[in-house]
């Protein structure tokens, strides 16, 4: 069912908050995962159980930054069993990552109300902070520009800042199949925030009259935005592919890797409690390095840098949802996300698999069909 949350004095956030408060006070959710403002111009994800804190701490899901991919947070608070009815305000890439984590048995959607919102994109945290410190008029202007860009279906540019590279090439800024869908694209939110709800949620909130959902140009705005981003994506991934196909291949892309493993830490899909590369398997005897050097005549120290990235590709490229948290986390500015998307896209195509599409779909590498690829292994 569609409804419209009334917005007063152009205060979209207050309207958004009042809706979230209503979800909590009506008992639809007992706890809410939502970003709260920190006072220095950014937000942190938080789990809120007292609805009064939504106003007091200024809950702000529209702040265009993503300190973590919140699928991780949902995994932490649900695991195999959700202890309470939890609501989670998530961006599309967070929802897609969450779906993959559910398949990997690291999270559950039982008793979780997924509140998704259209996402015009996010900025690098530090860059955004340097432009948006504190509150006041400057922030308000930035916020207004952000919402206007979403209405018009163009890239938001705040004080010369560009979106994160992953957002600039995001072709899934809109949601499908969520419990609650907050619309931003193609609508003038200052005149009311359109929401699409599942019927049981609407009933619990005693919303009986369907309002006109979305705006007239809703579809148009998204099409315009994604068409532009598709082009950016093809160009960016094309460049990466060209480099990988040239001499040296992927090796050349990771020469500046400092082995901090930030990409792995930031990746919502890489869930292993202890990564293989942090175990004793990679605690080598001194002779190991000498042998490695003797074999090739010279060897990079410390070794196994590319092995780490290639292994990660094998472990998670089928589930890579292109959120680009790895790129944002890389201190050496390696386009990790684009590299993983460029390869992941091909692996996913091979299995006709779209990560994040449906929690009921099996992961490509844990399922099989006896009658597929029957020519493999039989070659003479």
């Amino acid at each position: 069912m569609n409804t419209i949350i009334p917005v007063e004095n152009n205060d979209v956030l207050a309207a958004f908050r009042s809706f979230l408060k209503r979800l909590m006070e009506s008992g639809v959710v007992e706890a809410l995962l939502v970003p709260l403002e920190t006072g220095d111009g950014t937000v942190l994800p938080a789990l809120v159980t007292d609805p009064a804190r939504l106003d007091a701490e200024r809950a702000n899901p529209l702040m265009p930054v993503m300190p973590i991919n919140n699928a991780r947070a949902v995994s932490a608070i649900t695991g195999k069993h959700t202890p309470a009815k939890i609501g989670a305000v998530l961006r599309p890439c967070e929802i897609r990552a969450l779906v993959e984590l559910v398949k990997l048995q690291q999270a559950t959607l039982d008793h979780v109300l997924v509140i998704g919102m259209d996402c015009p994109g996010t900025y690098e945290l530090n860059e955004f902070l340097s432009r948006n410190g504190g509150h006041g008029e400057r922030c308000a202007a930035n916020f207004a520009e952000y919402l206007t860009a979403a209405r018009e279906g163009r890239e938001p540019v705040i004080e010369g800042l560009e979106l994160r590279p992953a957002c600039r090439m995001c072709i899934h800024p809109m949601l499908e199949n969520v419990d609650v869908h907050i619309h931003l694209f193609g609508v003038d939110v200052n005149r009311g925030l359109p929401v699409t709800l599942k019927d049981d949620v609407a009933a619990a909130l005693q919303i009986t009259e369907p309002g006109a959902g979305g705006g007239e140009s809703l579809g148009e705005a998204v099409t315009r935005l994604t068409a532009g981003r598709q082009k950016v994506r093809e160009e960016a991934l094309g460049n990466i592919r060209k480099q990988m196909a040239s001499n040296g291949g992927i090796t050349g892309l990771f020469t500046s890797c400092i082995r901090c493993h930030n990409c792995m830490t930031a990746c919502p899909i890489c869930y292993c409690k202890t990564c293989l590369f942090k175990t004793a398997a990679f605690d080598h005897e001194p002779s190991f390095y000498l042998n490695a050097a003797r074999r090739k005549g010279a060897t990079r120290l410390l070794g196994d840098t590319l092995l780490f990235h290639m292994t990660r590709l094998n472990h998670m490229s089928t589930s890579c949802i292109s959120c680009g948290m790895c790129t944002s986390a890389c201190p050496s500015d390696i386009p990790v996300g684009a590299i993983f998307s460029a390869i992941g896209e091909q692996v996913q195509a091979e299995f006709e698999y779209v990560p994040g599409r449906d929690a009921a779909e099996a992961l490509p590498l844990i399922t099989f069909h006896p009658d597929e690829w029957t020519e493999i292994g039989e070659e003479k």
Partner: protein, 157 residues
């Protein structure tokens, strides 16, 4: 294996020229089928090139991608995975999963700029000693045509 490769290298087995190039192959063979098949090749006194170093696995499904990548990046010229024919897995479905993992691995290697022709997956049963010997012979021929792996001297990996 490390010592063996080092020793052959010291004996003058060139890492860079094609002339005297002998490919190094690391093989992961399933205990129930291909390893037994390789054993049969031996007891039947079948001749095949000595370029292969065998690691015995309990199942081809136990071959983690990292086992394949590690020798490749360290300069092995080829990796062979041997398992039971589909439907014959000792653990029912291990080789079906191997097959999917191999498909993914091949795609990743190809797109990352590696030669996916260096990784072979073959189903060889315990009774196919002949097929094992032929497979190794074929693989050695193919790898000689491909030339030494560029990873033999690539130090910055």
């Amino acid at each position: 294996m490390q010592y063996e490769i080092r020793n052959t290298q010291q004996k003058g087995d060139s890492m860079t020229t094609n002339e005297s190039y002998e490919p190094h192959i690391v093989a992961f063979l399933c205990n129930w089928c291909t390893y037994t098949g390789a054993d049969l090749a031996g007891t039947s006194r079948l001749q095949y090139p000595p370029n292969v170093r065998v690691v015995r696995m309990m199942c081809s499904g136990a071959v983690d991608p990292v086992y394949i990548l590690k020798p490749l990046l360290d300069g092995a010229d080829g990796v062979l995975i041997g398992g039971c024919h589909p439907g014959d897995c000792h653990y029912q479905t291990g080789n079906y999963k191997t097959r999917r993992r191999y498909i993914a691995m091949r795609q990743i290697l190809k797109n990352a700029g590696f030669d996916d022709q260096r990784v072979w997956l073959r189903w060889i049963s315990a009774s196919e000693g002949q097929r094992f010997a032929e497979t190794v012979t074929e693989m050695v021929t193919a790898l000689k045509q491909l030339g030494p792996s560029p990873m033999r001297v690539a130090w910055a990996v």
